[in-house]
């Protein structure tokens, strides 16, 4: 598989993936020819995430002894955008719209997020009402100008913006998906007067009809853009100063990657960047073992995420809300609790339970866990960095599940006495129970919430969890995964090598993908075929241009064309792959409409041959293939597990089988566990970035890729 590229850059065979979570920054370096993986884990630096990023890269380069100039490309997943939204720390953003519609964001869809809750809240708009402005102009549904853009009113708004101390502006005018002229002119006027303000235009971000969804997507894009672009340019500079000059790519919410430049301009495509990486990694791990149906469970310091992978592919959705409540089923109103975006996102459930989630006793005397997190700074009490509130990590430490002397491979000593004291003062005393019981309660409460997340993606979508394998990773995941499988009825658990950094691996097993679309809204029988051909050509040119930024990292651009269609009068489209013909002619159109009728029959059980069909959008995805790295295989040995046994220690378990309290458990060093090794719980497996807890009644096996496979005994 020698390509021209490789022969030119003989040594450019290393790829780096860096995934920044709320608490830790994980790095993975893969030698794409041998499959050898090096990992690193450093504390995230929330006040300046770029500094954690570069420490992770430096650590990778030095521990793998790789020359920075031999790096093929760097792929990055970051929660910088979504954190800003959830924590209410988005850039100060203004909203500009058509006169009469200032309250588009306030009114949203006029619905309640839950049907029977009289105490419900509507999410506060990301732009406060005093920063929403109206411009006198109007375009009708055909794209014709009804009221010309009024210069006086535009100037007034620009002046108001100038005195409002804003960092970004989102512009969404009615019917701009049909005619973007007024939006562009307003954008230019603002940029001219306020060159440092980032401007997002709805007809660029998501040229689709339905004003509120387009406005919400655009507002999110602009309100995180200053944060994302400053961040990406800072890490680019830092990479250069470390002599890494190769392409920087960013993970999108959909599981494909795109160039950093595209990410700076359209960050709304990457708001769920980190979670997508985890799902892609789990899909790759499962496929590699011939297990295309897996549930991915990724628990870091701040949140836990679950997603379901069928036939090797994560589910993708375009009905997504950032910061929304966990959706039950495909509930029509799940989205009303957050901020909707109309960009493709890996379908997952995320809950506020991570290693850093804080335990507390509420006014009613109930023990609660989360949603507040101690994050990396000050972090759990046991880190000794100033944290005073007990966290899940503190509870795991008190229960003996973590070793105070072997955290981060021994680089960091954990203070067990402070952790105990904090649980005593903040939880156990109020509840009048022992510290161990309180610690165990903290874990079980967090587990219940996580089991619920697993059920939401499986049972709630009609899938039986018993048909799936649970892949647990993230720094905090493997300490909980076996217990979750037990409670959710999942018969098989996989803990990959380097679980703490596994989601960074997902960054290295996907392709460059860039979405482009053009809105037509025309009846198929009246469509101008040359226009369709022209639009696809235009999108290909744009895609080719965008791909250039990722050219060194991926293969030549390949284009996937699809047409979004519906029966004339419907509102939801089906995406139909374009017929595989070189010419867009009458035959092409006949094949296309026939495919649509068939797809409609499959989706909804009927076809309406006599009904007119409408073409809504043309979609073009530019794909730059990235060759997958080889997975390193170990040879099965019969050396047994004793060489990996580090010793024993008491660990607290409370199982349905009746055992409760501290049970003496074997502790293994993962790096010494050979392929083929078999051992039983209760056991603890330690590696530098993670600890796996194997509960009583479960048995573990090491497979040929070094994964721990854990199944119930008998």
């Amino acid at each position: 598989m020698t390509t021209a590229q490789e022969s030119d850059h003989h040594e450019s065979r290393y790829r780096i993936g860096v995934d920044i979570g709320g608490t830790f920054t994980d790095g993975t370096l893969v030698d794409s020819t041998t499959g050898r993986v090096t990992t690193s884990k450093v504390l995230s630096t929330p006040s300046n995430p770029a500094s954690g990023f570069i420490s992770a890269v430096k650590k990778l380069l030095s521990s793998a002894s790789v020359d920075p100039s031999h790096i093929e490309h760097v792929v990055h997943a970051t929660t910088v955008a979504t954190n800003a939204i959830i924590e209410g720390k988005t850039a100060r953003t203004a909203f500009v719209t058509t006169q009469g519609f200032r309250d588009m964001l306030e009114i949203a869809r006029q619905i309640r997020p839950s049907l029977y809750d009289l105490q419900f809240e509507k999410p506060a708009p990301l732009v406060p009402r005093q920063l929403c402005f109206e411009v006198e102009e109007r375009v009708n549904a055909k794209g014709e100008v009804v009221t010309p853009l009024d210069d006086h009113s535009l100037n007034q708004v620009v002046n108001q913006l100038a005195s409002s101390d804003i960092e970004a502006v989102a512009i969404c005018l009615l019917h701009s998906y049909r005619n973007p002229d007024h939006e562009r002119r307003i954008g230019e006027a603002i940029s001219e007067k306020l060159p440092n303000v980032i401007v997002s235009i709805s007809s660029d971000v998501v040229p689709e009809f339905r004003e509120y969804l387009r406005a919400s997507t655009t507002v999110i894009n602009s309100s995180v853009a200053p944060i994302v672009s400053a961040y990406l340019s800072s890490i680019s500079q830092k990479l250069v100063s470390e002599n890494v000059t190769s392409e920087l790519l960013v993970m999108q919410s959909s599981g494909g990657v795109y160039p950093a430049q595209s990410a700076s301009e359209n960050p709304v495509f990457m708001v769920e960047s980190g979670p997508a990486a985890g799902a892609v990694a789990a899909a790759a791990l499962g496929s590699n073992l011939g297990q295309p149906n897996v549930i991915s469970f990724d628990m870091g310091g701040t949140t836990a995420k679950a997603s379901l992978i069928r036939e090797g592919q994560p589910n993708i959705t375009k009905d997504y809300s950032v910061g929304g409540a966990a959706q039950s089923g495909t509930g029509a109103f799940g989205g009303a609790s957050g901020y909707p975006i109309r960009t493709p996102v890996v379908d997952l459930v995320e809950i506020g339970a991570g290693g850093g989630s804080i335990a507390w006793v509420d006014s009613g005397g109930a023990l609660r866990v989360g949603p507040h997190s101690a994050g990396a700074d000050p972090g759990p009490v046991c880190y000794g960095l100033g944290g005073t509130k007990p966290t899940i990590t503190d509870a795991n430490l008190v229960l003996g599940r973590l070793d105070p002397n072997y955290f981060a491979g021994g680089e960091m000593k954990l203070d067990i006495d402070s952790a105990r004291e904090s649980i005593r003062v903040n939880c156990a005393n109020q509840l009048k129970i022992s510290v161990e019981e309180a610690a165990h309660g903290i874990i079980e409460i967090a587990n219940t919430a996580m089991v619920n997340a697993l059920r939401l993606v499986s049972v709630q979508r009609g899938h039986d969890p018993r048909d799936f394998m649970l892949i647990g990773f993230g720094g905090a995941g493997p300490a909980h995964t076996v217990r979750l499988a037990e409670q959710a009825g999942i018969p098989k658990v996989l803990i990959p090598l380097g679980p703490g950094t596994a989601s960074a691996l997902g960054l290295l097993v996907t392709d460059v993908r860039m979405e482009g679309s053009a809105t037509l809204i025309v009846r198929a029988d009246q469509a101008d075929l040359t226009q369709i051909s022209r639009e696809f050509q235009r999108l290909e040119n744009l895609g080719r241009k965008a791909h250039k930024q990722a050219a060194s990292a991926s293969g030549a651009p390949v284009f996937e064309r699809a047409i979004e269609m519906r029966y004339w009068g419907q509102s939801f489209e089906l995406s139909i792959p374009a017929p595989n013909r070189s010419e867009i002619d009458q035959t092409w159109m006949q094949e296309l409409t026939e495919s649509f009728h068939n797809a409609h029959q499959t989706a909804y059980g009927f076809r309406a041959n006599d009904e007119p069909i409408e073409i809504v959008n043309l979609r073009l995805t530019t794909v730059g293939k990235i060759a997958r790295p080889q997975m390193l295989k170990l040879s099965i040995t019969d050396t047994g597990v004793s060489i990996a046994l580090k010793g024993t220690r008491p660990v607290y378990f409370s199982e349905e089988s009746g055992k409760q309290g501290m049970i003496e458990s074997k502790v293994y060093d993962r790096s010494l566990l050979p392929a083929g090794a078999v051992f039983s719980g209760p056991a603890i497996v330690e590696e530098p970035d993670c600890t796996t807890v194997v509960h009583p009644n479960w048995q573990a096996t090491i497979d040929e890729f070094g994964n721990i496979i854990i199944q119930p005994k008998n």
Partner: protein, 573 residues
């Protein structure tokens, strides 16, 4: 005999798979439908009933359908005779006097067979944008149900998998918006087919015996949880009375009375003392009143209680026949939802002293229909459009009422302006919150909203709403929200309209809706001055109102509260 064993994980899986089947019915209906009211505003519901016609799983987008749909389906099937149904059949029904509600809500019901054995029914209800009658969108003030549109007793629309085209043409010929309505009917058929496929898959997997066992357990599970919830409610007798503001013909208010009795027997809702039914569109059928009570009870229970037959059996309603809460033939019913939703406000008002932290102050509590239609010059077709508008929500004991949101049984989305203008000859001129419309309180009510429609052509427009005499009430010294205004703006002149009227519009006319604000909770003089400041800075309330109604003086130059002046004003200065 061996006790059949319920395995907890299997129980959860089957329970959720059934809910998922209902959800998928909803998705199929929504995504293949044509009218904005169904595809975007989601005015529909889907459910699976077992072979005894007990509701098992439901995908409800609209709580109003909660009680009504589950009453209508069994009655319709029994009237038609389950013995007259076979595989591939579906029956259509909207008869208000056969367990139904207003004529727009049409149910389509199909038996599900598994290897020639009846296992249950999939059913879906859609609010059709037009069913004929005296005005486009079939909303308006009439004196008899016959004027309101086509009445469909249970009839077989789909016979062994084939649509009965004669019947279909007969139904469609009564209806203005033929293309959209036939699209919506097709979507309903698709929904039932989808549900039946999913149900069969579940039985394939677990077997028929297990299926029936778990279906029964799903209902019993809800029964057990509902009983526990009912026992938790405070025992006592709670009363309230109120009004629908007019009936569309006479300006006299329509009196409503509610008595809620909670005792060892359970919960009983009694509407005795409510006005006699009117020859006007404010009559609620029993199903609608039942639905109001079911919603109120459900709202006072655990949020994740799954609703099915095991819940409904605890909703006891005594609504005397011949009153506006249980009308008899041939009373008109199209505005029955106004009575229904006002009952909800009254039930919560009645319960306020016993459950002060669980209820809310008066909300919009009207359907607030805006319906119009006429010939679309672009297509030459007769079109109809219907939507309902939000208003302010009532304040709660520790939070403000949200602005511009649907209330109680109603949770329909707004019609996106771009979608509306793309499909119908209308231009929306503004859509905004109304400053100073909130009911003042320590926690304030939500703001009402304004929506203006401009019509380039002759159009027939119907307002079917309420709240034009009095706004939603406050609780515990909280004050009343603003009342609604419905106006016709013609040649720059504004004329107020009745809340239940049909008008003929000329090209260029504008109709303006300004909906009510929510009631406040607690004395506005106790409101946190910083919360008042925030409202003023956002332009939600005026400086003048802050001073007069809240006793808070704002220094707008400094964007701060003038604490000395406020103190003086609030403490009798």
């Amino acid at each position: 005999m061996i006790e059949p064993k319920i395995e907890p994980i299997r129980f959860e899986v089957i329970r959720n798979a059934l809910s998922q089947a209902a959800e998928e019915m909803a998705i199929a209906l929504r995504r293949s439908a044509y009218s904005t009211n169904v595809k975007t505003r989601q005015d529909f519901s889907c459910a699976f009933f077992d072979k005894e016609l007990r509701s098992v799983a439901q995908a409800f987008t609209q709580p109003v359908h909660l009680g009504s749909f589950v009453r209508h389906v069994p009655i319709a099937v029994k009237r038609y005779g389950p013995e007259n149904l076979s595989q591939g059949d579906m029956i259509l029904s909207n008869d208000p006097y056969g367990g139904g509600v207003h004529l727009n809500d049409i149910s389509l019901i199909g038996p599900v067979y598994y290897r020639n054995q009846l296992v249950g029914y999939t059913a879906c209800l859609a609010h059709h944008v037009d069913v004929g009658g005296g005005a486009p969108a079939s909303v308006g003030a009439f004196k008899e149900v016959f004027q309101e549109g086509i009445i469909i007793p249970p009839i077989k629309l789909v016979n062994k998998g084939k649509v009965d085209n004669d019947l279909f043409r007969l139904v469609l010929s009564q209806i203005r918006s033929k293309r959209e309505t036939s699209g919506d009917f097709r979507a309903q058929i698709a929904s039932n087919i989808t549900g039946a496929i999913r149900i069969k898959e579940i039985i394939d997997r677990y077997g028929l015996e297990e299926f029936h066992l778990y279906v029964n357990e799903i209902i019993e599970y809800t029964d057990r949880r509902t009983r526990a919830e009912v026992e938790r409610l405070p025992k006592g007798v709670y009363k309230a009375e109120g009004f629908v503001d007019n009936d569309g013909f006479s300006d006299d208010v329509v009196k409503l009375k509610i008595k809620v009795t909670i005792d060892e027997e359970g919960v009983t809702f009694d509407t005795s003392g409510s006005d006699s039914q009117r020859r006007a569109p404010v009559n609620s059928t029993f199903a609608q009143t039942f639905s109001a009570c079911a919603y109120a009870l459900r709202s006072l229970m655990d949020k994740d209680l799954p609703v099915n037959d095991g819940f409904y059996r605890y909703v006891k309603v005594n609504a005397p026949e011949g009153t506006v809460t249980n009308c008899v033939h041939p009373a008109p019913v199209v505005g029955g939802w106004e009575t229904h939703v006002r009952l909800n406000d009254l039930i919560f008002e009645a319960m306020a002293t016993a459950l002060p932290n669980e209820v809310c102050a008066g909300t919009k509590s009207m359907q607030c229909h805006s319906g119009f239609g006429g010939e679309n010059p672009e297509t030459g077709e007769y079109y109809c459009f219907l939507e309902t508008l939000a208003g302010g929500y009532g304040a709660r004991s520790s939070s403000d009422g949200p602005d511009a949101v649907q209330s109680h049984g109603q949770n329909t989305e707004n019609a996106p302006i771009e979608e509306t203008e793309s499909n119908y000859p209308v231009q929306i001129m503004r859509y905004e919150l109304i400053t100073d419309s909130e009911g003042p309180g320590e926690f304030r009510g939500g703001l009402g909203l304004r929506r203006d429609y401009a019509f380039p052509n002759e159009t027939t427009f119907t307002v079917l709403a309420d709240r034009d005499k009095a706004g939603p009430r406050g609780l515990f010294e909280g004050q009343t929200g603003s009342k609604s205004v419905y106006a016709l703006i013609q040649n720059g002149q504004e004329h107020h309209l009745s809340s239940k009227t049909t008008v003929q519009l000329q090209p260029g006319d504008v109709i303006s809706y300004r909906t009510s604000g929510g009631g406040g909770y607690g004395s506005p003089m106790k409101r946190d001055p910083d919360a008042v400041l925030s409202d003023v800075l956002q332009g939600k309330i005026s400086i003048d109102r802050a001073r007069k109604r809240y006793g808070v003086v704002i220094d707008i130059g400094r964007q701060s509260v003038d604490e000395i002046q406020t103190e003086r004003l609030r403490n009798g200065g």
